[in-house]
């Protein structure tokens, strides 16, 4: 059966309001027809097609601009404001706290439909295609712009996005049939912006609606059934009166090189057709079938426009002279010409002018260029319609989310998670780490388990460090590089058994790292199992010089040595205990099941109460790590940061047989490369992150991380220097900063290993 998802029917005659004045309409009138019936022009001039192919009848309807008035039915009570003849329409003022909300009401409803066949176009070929599919027992949905269903985009899936007067349709068809027919050629001659020019179809529609056209003359093929005087010859120009209305048409007989001027009230142009194929050109790889005139690529182009003053693209006002200027500047290809001249980039997306531009290029080159690729949306949408049913990114909450809130945590979104930025006093949190004991919620870290007979081989190829010599119970820091040797992520490799490893990644990079790993396993055909445990395991970092005492109280008397790890109960909760340090103090990450996290957190907070325990947030953590010079991938690194640029070549073993990125690193190692991540110190408060780093008045880099160090009594920074020679001092925020080695704090790492 053929489905019709929207209510049909037409309103009886009534009145709409146009520019503040009442305008009567007859049953079945579009807004454009109603305005013409009132003796006026929908948009102040230009050829009317009344088929939705051009941008010559744009109006605001109830505050929504860029509505094709020929495609929207007139209903009693709607308020229409015609677009100005020159310039842009004044858009309604958007106010309120949420600019994503429509100023005209609540969000736009989305209706989804899954059908066997979506037929786009309700003309003869569309109806025939629909009948054929119905005969085969298929569920068919006909989408007809004339009926109010404007297809604005076709996407892979396939998915067809449809704008309707009341809601958005997201259609998921198994087959798509495009039967959109053909559009009439618009004239590209001087005077084509006058009021009173109609295509043949438009003339037929107005005549059928009972609208008098006055003294009408027709150039080209005259419309059947419409009283008019055919005028022979080539259309040269249209002449108008002081009101901007057509007064006469000038045609030429090229045989005798004579022009004829014919007075008229209305000019009807029957200049031929072009496939209405914008959706076909938009579909790309999406399979669809095209039937009827929309598939007729052999339709002849119109004569190339020649008069330099003639407007080719009426949406953007592009003239033939503009095309010539762009061409002379070297934009001698359709895609380039449209971008440089703005032809075909207006409201109608070339619906009216593409044939003219192609003809103009063909006259220059002798070759007819293929039409350009079209992009959604083919029709204008409001932001509310485009954003209908769009969801923002979902941010995860760790099992300790409510604990953080109860402790006064100020949470923010970071790396795909809600994370505590601080708990009211980041400096106190900092000192708890440096001098006492503190807890950090590191549940957000990426956590993978990999195993299998080929797992060591795989990890050796994946990472630039050695893996095979990591003993069970030991771990190693590792960079993750791409084929170009650029740093993608970093984390730890922890060996559990001969063929079993745990891997950690940054919070924001974990998902990408997992895809990367799975892709390479497939690519290499290795027998490796992968399990993502990021959201199944929580993790608490116990850090600070009193951390060992806290863990002893929690039952962990036997603790792993630095870079060691073990499985043990802590406060009765089974944990994978990892002895690492990102803060610069002795630290233990306790990875544990998410359903025991609150229990473990509360136990540790309780056991450490007399030790002055307090949690720390990201603000303190970023300062702590900065004092150690630890790099945060994505914050300190850029997309093309290599280990050498980050001064982390120590994490790369070029003597390994192979690893991802090795070839690129070997090649670039022979090339000069001045970009380096450096440490800086300065007196006083830390500058804003992102501040430019200046030398002799020139910008030579920028600050990636900054922190006013309580323990060091000065500001410490990481930042890029991208020019030789590396200076001893630079200027940041107008103050002198000293280029300094890192780590700034505990350079021998004694506290971290304690």
């Amino acid at each position: 059966m053929t489905e019709r998802l929207l209510p049909g029917g037409q309103p009886e005659a009534g009145r709409i309001v146009v520019d503040g004045r009442p305008v009567s309409f007859a049953a079945g009138d579009s807004i454009a027809v109603a305005i013409v019936r009132a003796g006026e022009s929908p948009a102040g001039g230009g050829t009317l097609c009344l088929t939705g192919d051009c941008g010559n009848c744009l109006v605001q309807v109830d505050g929504v601009a860029y509505v094709r008035s020929c495609q929207q039915r007139a209903y009693p009570g709607i308020s229409v404001t015609r677009h100005p003849r020159e310039g842009l329409p004044v858009l309604p003022h958007i106010s309120g706290p949420d600019l994503t909300l429509s100023p005209f009401g609540p969000g736009i409803e989305v209706l989804r439909a899954e059908v066997d066949v979506a037929v786009i176009g309700g003309g003869a070929t569309g109806r025939e295609a629909a009948a054929t599919a119905e005969g085969e027992g298929k569920r068919v949905l006909v989408l007809d712009a004339e009926g109010g269903d404007e297809v604005v985009g076709i996407y892979p899936g396939p998915m067809v996005i449809v704008r309707t007067p009341t809601l958005m349709l997201h259609v998921f068809p198994h087959e798509i049939v495009v039967a959109t027919g053909a559009a009439e050629i618009h004239p590209a001659v001087p005077g084509n912006g006058l009021d009173g020019i109609l295509t043949a179809r438009a003339a037929q529609r107005l005549h059928a609606a009972g609208i008098e056209l006055g003294a009408a003359v027709a150039v080209g093929t005259p419309p059947e059934g419409v009283p008019c005087i055919p005028v022979a010859g080539r259309l040269v120009r249209v002449e108008g009166d002081e009101r901007g209305r057509v007064r006469a048409v000038v045609t030429a007989d090229d045989w005798i090189e004579a022009e004829t001027t014919t007075p008229c009230d209305t000019l009807i142009v029957g200049l031929g057709f072009a496939p209405r194929d914008v959706l076909v050109r938009m579909a790309g790889e999406v399979p669809l079938s095209v039937v009827g005139p929309a598939a007729d690529a052999a339709m002849p182009l119109p004569p190339a426009p020649t008069d330099p003053t003639a407007v080719v693209c009426t949406c953007n006002g592009t003239t033939v002279a503009d095309l010539e200027t762009a061409w002379e500047r070297g934009f001698q290809e359709l895609e380039l010409l449209k971008r440089s001249s703005l032809a075909c980039l207006g409201t109608c997306q070339g619906g009216a002018c593409l044939p003219q531009v192609r003809a103009w290029i063909a006259a220059r080159t002798g070759h007819v260029p293929a039409p350009f690729t079209a992009r959604p949306a083919s029709r204008q949408l409001t932001l509310a319609e485009a954003g209908a049913d769009v969801t923002v990114d979902a941010f995860r909450r760790t099992p300790l989310h409510d604990e953080h809130l109860a402790l006064g945590g100020r949470l923010d979104r970071f790396g795909g998670w809600w994370r505590p930025w601080h708990y009211g006093d980041p400096i106190a949190e900092y000192w708890a780490v440096r001098e006492g004991v503190s807890l950090g919620d590191v549940s957000t870290l990426g956590k993978l388990v990999v195993s299998g007979p080929d797992v060591v081989e795989f990890l050796e190829r994946l990472y630039p460090c050695r893996v095979a010599d990591i003993l069970p119970g030991r771990s190693r820091y590792a960079l993750l590089l791409n084929e170009r040797g650029h740093i993608m992520d970093d984390g730890m490799i922890l060996r559990e058994a001969k063929n079993l490893f745990a891997l950690t990644f940054t919070s924001g990079g974990a998902a990408n790292a997992e895809m990367w790993i799975r892709d390479w396993i497939d690519q290499w055909g290795l027998n490796v199992h992968v399990l993502d445990r990021t959201m199944s395991l929580a993790a608490i970092n116990v850090t600070g010089p009193l951390g060992a005492e806290l863990l002893t109280r929690a039952g962990l008397a036997e603790r792993p040595a630095f870079l060691g790890h073990t499985h043990a109960d802590v406060a009765g909760v089974p944990c994978h205990v990892m002895r690492l340090s990102f803060t610069g103090e002795a630290s233990w990450e306790l990875h544990h099941p998410v359903d025991r996290s609150v229990e473990l957190w509360r136990a540790l907070m309780s056991l450490g109460a007399d030790l002055g325990i307090r949690p720390h947030g990201l603000k303190a953590l970023f300062g702590l790590r900065l004092e150690k010079g630890h790099v945060i991938v994505g914050m300190d690194t850029e997309l093309d940061t290599t280990p050498r640029r980050a001064r982390m070549a120590w994490a790369v073993r070029m003597d390994k047989p192979t690893f991802i990125g090795k070839a690129a690193l070997a090649r670039t190692a022979k090339q000069p490369d001045h970009r380096r991540l450096h440490g800086f110190t300065m007196d006083g408060q830390a500058p804003v992150e992102g501040s430019p780093i200046m030398v002799d008045g020139d910008i030579v880099g920028h600050v990636t991380g900054s922190w006013t160090s309580p323990v060091l009594g000065k500001a410490v920074m990481l930042g890029w220097l991208k020019r030789l020679p590396y200076p001893e001092t630079v200027t940041i925020e107008g103050r002198e900063a000293i280029v300094s080695p890192t780590p700034f704090y505990d350079p021998e790492g004694e506290r971290a290993r304690a």
Binding site: R112, L531, R533, M535, S536
Partner: protein, 137 residues
């Protein structure tokens, strides 16, 4: 709708060995319970309610999984409150298992023969998903 944690056993192993896996439930003395075995991928499976597994793959990754929460919907509530937020075609057969986003949140859906639905979501996404589904409280 009601929500509860969905503990079970999660396994990544050779596909053939997963096909032949033997699942252990709560064991003698407990109420008889048949694990609900959901195949996430050819090489990955999650058995809700299972407490152990016998599997013929020495390198299989077998873990106790507690990260998932199950949202149980009667058929009519699922249609009214969840389906409008599913962008992908819902499976037509029953029982069925599908994976994708619901209101932009990664989720998995098990539909039993009656059409009742179990929406499986990682606990870290639970609040976000509930916020996005306009369900009666």
């Amino acid at each position: 709708m009601h929500a509860l944690r969905a503990p079970g056993v999660r396994v990544v192993a050779n596909p053939e060995s997963i096909d032949g896996a033997v699942w252990h439930d709560a064991g003698p003395g407990r109420e008889e319970f048949e694990p609900l075995v959901l195949r996430f991928a050819r090489d990955e499976v999650f058995a809700i309610g299972a407490t152990g597994v016998e599997i013929d793959d020495a390198d299989a990754i077998v873990v106790a999984e507690v990260g998932y929460v199950a949202l149980m919907f009667p058929a009519d509530e699922f249609v009214d409150f969840v389906v409008p937020h599913i962008e992908w075609p819902a499976p037509r057969s029953r029982p069925a298992f599908a994976q994708g986003s619901i209101a932009g949140v990664p989720a998995k859906v098990y539909l039993d023969v009656t059409g009742a639905a179990t929406v499986l979501v990682q606990g870290v996404y639970l609040d976000e998903l509930i916020d996005r589904l306009p369900m009666p409280q």
